[in-house]
């Protein structure tokens, strides 16, 4: 990755939702700042409740920030008129996890694929259809697929249709929200390879949101680790995977089940206690402190500053050093 132009600039982003009874507030995103560079693949990793899905939707203007801004190539979409926004948003697209839910079961594949072009009022019936077929072929589907219905396709094929549909618009940025989570392992590789090829061909920028560390580490140039609506760590993928600085990242990597024989799994496994607290009432200070094996009194009192400890590699932990996370306290449970 050589480009450093910021195509998505997230500034002091907060997104709050009222709970159903309206008495409390869910802090889905509670202060995030980062940039996504043009042409890169930016990975976002997190468990449920981390705010990663809300973030993905906000990045493509499906959810408005409660506070702060998201700039698209320097433009704040919130400042655009309805007409301008309509034209603008075609450059910022999203693909969702469930390939079934994203396709209308009563529409043929080609009708689904060219619908965005119709919405944009681009070209005529003939040219739209031609572009639709081209897009299907580009994602590895035969032209005969065009006349079929979603139920006649496999999960992998349906996800390809969703990719083709987004491609017709020639977007600059595609947010991929758990796009391979619903696919079987043996075809996941194919779809991930397709994403890589398309990026090379069209100069796309990806934001890859997933809970799967192996997927994110395979595709991303940089990776952001989220927990309870905040960034814990952000840096080049190799650095974050091979030498994590935050205790949460280290635990997350250690929890990933690795298909290796017992003799080759030498690392001591860190098993975190408890589960993610509710985003309605997140812990004071550092949000991870209730489960952190290295917790100190200061962690409850003070929100950790965002510190860049190595070039391009930043972390939100009082005690992290460029050499890694702080050592575990004695009471931490470490299973062999």
């Amino acid at each position: 990755m050589t480009a450093t132009k910021s195509i998505l600039a997230v500034r002091d982003l907060r997104i709050l939702f009222p709970t159903r009874d309206g008495r409390e507030t869910v802090k889905a995103i509670d202060g995030m700042d980062f940039d996504v560079c043009a042409g890169e693949t930016f990975g976002v990793i997190g468990e449920s409740g981390s705010g990663k899905t809300t973030l993905g939707r906000a990045l493509v203007s499906l959810i408005a920030p409660t506070h702060g801004h998201i700039l698209h190539d320097g433009i704040d979409p919130a400042s655009l008129s309805t007409g301008q926004f309509r034209k603008h948003r075609r450059d910022y697209q999203i693909i969702f996890q469930d390939p079934n839910a994203a396709l209308n079961p009563r529409m043929t594949i080609i009708d689904s694929v060219i619908e965005p072009l119709e919405v944009m009022r681009e070209g005529n019936d003939v040219s739209r259809r031609r572009r639709g077929i081209e897009a299907l072929e580009r994602v590895g589907l035969s032209p005969e697929t065009a006349g079929r219905y979603p139920h006649q396709l496999s999960g992998g094929q349906k996800q390809r249709v969703n990719i083709a549909r987004v491609l017709t618009l020639r977007p600059k940025v595609i947010v991929c929200d758990e796009v391979v989570a619903a696919l079987d392992v043996s075809i996941r590789g194919d779809v991930l390879n397709l994403f890589t090829d398309l990026q090379r061909e069209f100069g796309l920028t990806y934001v890859f949101i997933t809970h799967d560390i192996s997927v994110v580490s395979h595709v991303s140039d940089r990776v952001a680790v989220t927990y309870l609506g905040k960034l814990m760590e952000l840096g080049p993928t190799e650095d974050v995977i091979e030498q994590p600085l935050h205790p949460y990242t280290r635990a997350l990597l250690s929890a990933e089940p690795i298909p290796l024989p017992s003799t080759m799994r030498i690392d001591k496994r860190i098993i975190l206690e408890g589960e993610i607290p509710s985003p309605v009432a997140p812990p004071s200070g550092c949000r991870f402190r209730t489960r952190c094996p290295s917790v100190q009194p200061r962690c409850a009192a003070e929100v950790p500053a965002w510190r860049e400890l190595k070039p391009g590699h930043a972390v939100a932990c009082h005690f992290a050093t460029p050499d890694g996370p702080p050592p575990d306290n004695q009471k931490a449970s470490i299973a062999p």
Partner: protein, 347 residues
């Protein structure tokens, strides 16, 4: 043949004197569903056995038949539409031929099962304590008070803090990981000899998944309960199980000690699955994948079912493939297996 009264009353005594101790022996299990268009075959000739205390992973992708195989062992498939052939020998008794009443005495008592989504397996209007003690009281005539005591002990056993308080809570008051712990407590309260776990961690976050897999392994080690762990996740199998059975398109294609299967798979499908996983260290580059897709159940190819997707397919693969013993304790459904060197999880 063990009589059924033996089966439901004996706890420790082994009434069999077979040489190799086998807890479960599944022989030639074939399953099909009656549909409007006739019989739809789902699994064919599934055979495997489980030793007491053994932890076996059944892996495969969606549609391979791993879930229905698990359900069929406890006869939980709808009897109107499911046709089951073959034998399910549990301590010598064929469960497939047991009366419904006798089968009920086995379920939950000798063999228990947990599922992927704990919320849909728990009743929202009863406390978790009631539900756990009900599982015990269905098999043992104890008082409500004793049932409650046992439920509290079971909750403590699965690592739930403050079990006396949690016992009186409803499922919605618990997190996903806690609910799965409740399911495990319920499944193990009668000290079954076999626990069937169908994707028990798939709905959980990875840090919670690590807790649950750790719990299942240590409980199995401590209590001697054998485990059948059904999953699509080879990493989880590597961490929990001692043996791995790979299924493809309704058939068992490989059966091996887990470390051997991961290092040196002997069936091309197992090898393909392992190579498709994006490794943490391997970045960028082209990910290998298995071309094509699983054929639909009513259009299975003749001979080896993996043949259309297999890069090692050759003349001879169009013949029916039996499981062959490739090594002591290892089987593969591939006649070419003895001649193939297949890459595993590490290369």
């Amino acid at each position: 043949m063990v009589t059924v009264t033996d089966l439901s009353s004996s706890t420790e005594t082994c009434t069999q004197s077979a040489p190799a101790p086998r807890l479960l022996d599944v022989r030639g299990l074939s399953l099909s569903f009656a549909t409007g268009d006739g019989e739809l075959p789902i699994t064919r000739n599934v055979s495997f056995s489980i030793a007491p205390g053994e932890r076996v992973g059944i892996v495969g992708e969606s549609g391979c038949g791993k879930t229905v195989t698990g359900l069929s062992l406890l006869r939980l498939l709808p009897p109107q539409s499911a046709r089951v052939k073959g034998e399910i020998l549990f301590e010598g008794t064929d469960l497939a031929r047991l009366s419904s009443r006798k089968m009920r005495a086995v379920r939950g008592r000798d063999i228990a099962m947990i599922f992927q989504e704990p919320m849909s397996a728990l009743d929202p209007v009863f406390t978790v304590g009631d539900q756990i003690s009900e599982a015990y009281r269905a098999h043992f005539p104890v008082s409500r008070a004793e049932g409650r005591e046992r439920a509290i002990a079971a909750l403590a056993e699965v690592g739930i803090p403050a079990p006396e308080r949690r016992c009186d809570e409803y499922p919605h008051q618990l997190s996903g990981g806690m609910r799965q712990r409740v399911m495990i407590a319920m499944a193990l309260i009668c000290k079954p000899k076999l626990l069937i776990a169908d994707e028990p961690t798939t709905a959980l976050d990875v840090t919670v998944q690590a807790q649950i897999t750790d719990l299942l392994r240590s409980l199995s080690e401590r209590t001697g309960t054998a485990l059948i762990f059904i999953t699509h996740d080879l990493g989880v199998v590597a961490e929990v199980c001692t043996r791995m059975i790979t299924m493809y398109a309704g058939e068992v294609v490989e059966d091996a000690p887990v470390d051997d299967a991961l290092m040196r798979p002997r069936h091309p499908y197992t090898s393909g699955l392992l190579r498709s996983l994006p490794g943490l260290s391997q970045r960028r580059g082209v990910l290998p994948s298995i071309p094509g897709r699983v054929p639909p159940p009513n259009r299975m190819p003749a001979g080896c079912r993996f043949r259309p997707r297999c890069s090692h397919a050759a003349a001879g693969c169009e013949h029916e493939q039996p499981m062959i013993d490739v090594e002591p304790g290892r089987g593969a459904r591939c006649w070419r297996s003895p001649d193939l060197v297949l890459p595993g999880a590490v290369n």
